[in-house]
Point group: C2
Amino acid sequence: MTKAQRFLQSFMMHRSVLPELVSKLSDKDLTYTPWEGALSTRDLVWHMLTSSYGFTKAAATGTFERSREKPDFQNVEDLQKAVQEFTDKTVALIDSMPDERVDAMVDMTAIFGTEVSAGTLLQTMRDHEIHHKGQLFTYARLVGVDSVPMFIKRG
Amino acid sequence: MTKAQRFLQSFMMHRSVLPELVSKLSDKDLTYTPWEGALSTRDLVWHMLTSSYGFTKAAATGTFERSREKPDFQNVEDLQKAVQEFTDKTVALIDSMPDERVDAMVDMTAIFGTEVSAGTLLQTMRDHEIHHKGQLFTYARLVGVDSVPMFIKRG
């Protein structure tokens, strides 16, 4: 198993929770914003999906690009399709990374003001995912979901 | 540097955010609960402090004990003292762990239904901290804090 494949297992412990958590939401919850100026539920999920994919792509290719697109998901089914699509392409990128790539440096000056190793970038991506997933659990409770999954899913 | 000391750096990237985040709160925010049955702000912070310390103690000593005590903090100053006290003793335990200890197994049947290595337990502790810190950021926004720190503090 490569370093990236070991990392993938630790990332999927968290990403695998997302479909179940999203399945607890109703279509009307997608535009919910808990305070003025907050990301809506759908935008919070979109931020998780695109950030994790963007950081992974930077780690895997050495080039960081911000995502610009932001679809206005009207229902949970469409949001779940995006979760699946982004998870698949994020997993494929991580799975393809040889150890030399994980140890290589990536220019993240635009965001962190410095270079970081691809491995460090993947860890930051994972931390960012857990942070926002924690927020999404709170959103779910606030819209009235009374039973949420564990925050970690073990394979 | 030992394995535990490297881990400690990655843990402190998150724990170091807590004093600044808590400093944004007012005394009245400590008993705020965002939904019926939710942990109050003070109880959420207490849960983070005691869980991280409890998991660390289990990792460092091989024995897991649940924390029973739960002080009803009346002001932010007292809560900050607890943050400092628990951070100090958690750091001291991690800092003391030799590599053999990190690789040793810990009986976590009571919680996870299985044994896990002390190193895995520390990682789970860190994930749990990030998860609930994400929730605490949401609490802070909900009580009206309009400027929050970055979710990671780099040393």
